[in-house]
């Protein structure tokens, strides 16, 4: 369905060019029909940048994104609109996704205006009601309200309902539950999973390993813009290979194991070397070699559907 090929995003910092900041470096992966893929990374890993590039909210510096074999970057006007009919996004902060001065359900009327101007209002209303019901909301309770009168969970469901109103095949879900309260977030997650079984593909962007583990078939671990480990979620979690993934696993607070039981040495985030492994400065792996400082390792398959970019699995 969606294929990402070697995409890179470079930001120019400062007004007249100056330094380059590589937010995303040669990332490739694909997402199949009806699949949820987690994109897992800490702040500064470039995970949201990738999501925004897919949504064409920012441009790619190099590389290609294909949606059903069409190069997304070449889409113009009406084609782009058509693209948005099938590819949509939901973001982290529900309150920032809504224009605070308008009622929340304006997102539906905008859709009506832009995509379905020929549908009569009454029929459209019926569609909105159906969509709201299918995300578990009672239209009578939530329509005609301002964003601040709704809860974060309700607002995020609104956005998912919005995606349903379009013929959405692919959804970029960028940290969509990180700002929701614990008691309501799991329901939004379950909803995504239910939609998947109806054929929706989801790129689930998160910093929270447990959420990625809970919902996705496959996972991509990102560090400083590079993919360090990729594959079936269960395989990565049960057998993390990359030193960064291992460190993450040991740090994530869990409810079944205490930190004391899994000890790993931590180091500060440090600036990385120019063209070596992204994790070089923080790496404590016994396999760490001098060459790691100036040679970035390629992804190598360590077992079926599980690849790692580390010298430790080269041979």
């Amino acid at each position: 369905m969606l294929k990402i090929e070697d995409i890179t995003k470079t930001y120019k910092t400062g007004t007249f060019g100056g330094k380059d900041l590589k937010a995303v470096k040669n990332v490739s992966f694909d997402i199949h029909d009806g699949e949820i893929v987690s994109l897992i990374g800490e702040s500064g890993s470039g995970k949201s940048t990738i999501g925004k590039m897919i949504l064409r909210l920012i441009s790619t510096t190099s590389g290609k994104i294909y949606f059903n074999d069409k190069d997304v970057s070449l889409l113009k006007d009406s084609e782009l609109k058509e693209y948005y009919r099938h590819v949509q996004g939901v973001f982290q902060d529900p309150f920032s996704t809504y224009n605070p001065i308008f009622k929340a359900d304006r997102i539906f009327s905008v859709l009506h205006e832009e995509f379905f101007p020929h549908i009569p209002a009454s029929e459209w209303k019926g569609r909105v009601d159906t969509a709201l019901k299918s995300v578990g909301m009672n239209p009578a309770h939530v329509l005609n309200k301002f964003p601040h009168q709704l809860s974060g969970g309700q607002l995020q469901r609104f956005l998912i309902a919005r995606a349903l109103l379009l013929d959405t095949k692919f959804l970029v879900a960028d940290e969509i539950i990180s700002m929701l309260d614990a008691s309501t977030r799991i329901d939004v997650l379950n909803l995504l999973s239910d939609l998947r079984s109806k054929g929706l593909s989801v790129l689930f962007i998160t910093h929270d390993l447990s959420l990625g583990y809970y919902i996705s078939e496959r996972a991509v671990i990102l560090y400083k813009g590079s993919v360090v480990e990729i594959g079936e979620t269960k395989k990565i979690f049960d057998n993390p290979v990359h030193p960064y993934t291992r460190m993450l696993m040991s740090c994530v607070p869990r409810l079944d194991k205490k930190w004391q039981d899994v000890e790993v040495e931590l180091t500060e985030k440090k600036p990385m070397t120019a063209n070596g492994c992204v994790f070089y400065e923080r790496c404590h792996s016994e396999y760490k070699l001098d060459e790691c400082a100036h040679q970035s390792p390629a992804l190598v398959e360590v077992e079926p559907n599980h690849s790692v970019a580390c010298v430790c699995c080269k041979g």
């Binding site: 400062g14 007004t15 007249f16 100056g18």
Partner: protein, 330 residues
């Protein structure tokens, strides 16, 4: 920081370039022959006319191609040649302006600096102080709304006419010849006080209000709340707030400088104070365009220099710009 500076210098250079270009364009793109208009309005008669006419035709170089005229204009400027004044013919414009300049510096520099310091101190005092605030605010707003010249007129009327403490008109007593004597200095001072005061007072209100608002903003900042939570005394918190609020006030000088300078021009007119502002009025009345444009050029240069000084000051006091970030003074 290099980039920050480079950018600023580019803007200054561009400003200068544009100002000069506008200056060149205005007389040439107005309908009619500028020299004809100028001479006819100057109201001269006889041989002076032909003499001046040939001089100005030559100065404008209207017979040359337009790009050449433009180039010549620049060359002349870099030679300090701003043409010759009409109403003070044949004094070169640059000489006329040079004579007026000290009066402007004497008015502007002290009034800006003193009102800035006093206004900031007072504004800081008033912030979050109910009584002071309630008196300062209305007075401050009235002051910022007063047209410079009107305040000048009021002061002149009260202190020169009603209770004759200060003399009115000129830079010094007309009966005196400029000399290095105490009498002369005293006369200079007496004529200086009121124009200075009117500039000082209006600016004072603006700075005081600005500071008051900035301090309130800083007192609501997270670092202030943290200090309060740790029981730091009010004095320390306010000191910090003051030091941080000063930064935008420094940038404020750069933003205000144009307004202050034009305010000074109007004030000089009221007091017939022989600075550039008064020259401008003379130039307007006498249709002396060379002088008018020369004055404009000098005002622009003055504003650019002031901006540059403010930039340097900002870099010196804000650690963030000093350390190479481009925060703050944008």
């Amino acid at each position: 920081m290099k980039r920050y500076f480079g950018r600023k210098l580019l803007i200054y250079a561009l400003t200068f370039f544009i100002a000069v270009t506008i200056n060149w364009m205005i007389p040439r793109f107005m309908p009619g022959n500028p020299v004809d208009i100028m001479i006819s309005r100057a109201g001269l008669r006889g041989s002076a006319v032909t003499q001046m006419y040939s001089y100005y035709m030559d100065a404008f170089g209207l017979d040359q191609p337009i790009w050449k005229q433009y180039l010549n204009f620049w060359i002349a400027i870099f030679h300090g040649d701003l043409g010759t004044s009409i109403f003070l013919f044949p004094t070169p414009v640059i000489q006329v302006i040079k004579d007026a300049l000290p009066y402007d510096v004497a008015l502007l520099l002290p009034s800006i600096l003193l009102s800035w310091f006093a206004g900031n101190k007072f504004g800081a005092l008033a912030a979050r102080n109910k009584n002071l605030d309630n008196t300062l605010l209305p007075i401050g707003y009235i002051l910022t709304a007063v047209p410079y010249m009107w305040l000048g007129i009021l002061l002149a009327w009260v202190f020169c006419i009603v209770i004759r403490i200060f003399p009115l008109g000129g830079g010094y007593d007309f009966s005196m010849q400029p000399s290095y004597t105490w009498d002369f200095y005293w006369s200079l001072f007496n004529h200086w006080v009121l124009p200075f005061l009117s500039l000082f007072i209006v600016q004072f209100g603006g700075w005081a209000i600005g500071m008051r608002n900035l301090i309130i903003y800083e007192l609501e900042a997270d670092y202030s709340h943290f200090l309060e939570a740790l029981g730091a005394p009010r004095k320390l918190i306010r000191n910090y707030a003051y030091n941080n609020a000063i930064l935008p006030q420094v940038t404020g000088v750069a933003l205000q400088i144009g307004v202050i300078v034009t305010g000074a021009l109007a004030t000089e007119v009221v007091f017939a104070y022989p600075g550039i502002g008064y020259l401008i009025l003379q130039a307007i009345h006498n249709q002396d365009y060379f002088l008018l444009q020369g004055c404009f050029l000098f005002v622009v240069i003055g504003v650019l220099i002031a901006n540059f000084v403010v930039d340097i000051a900002y870099i010196l006091i804000d650690p963030r710009t000093r350390a190479g970030m481009t925060g703050g003074a944008e």
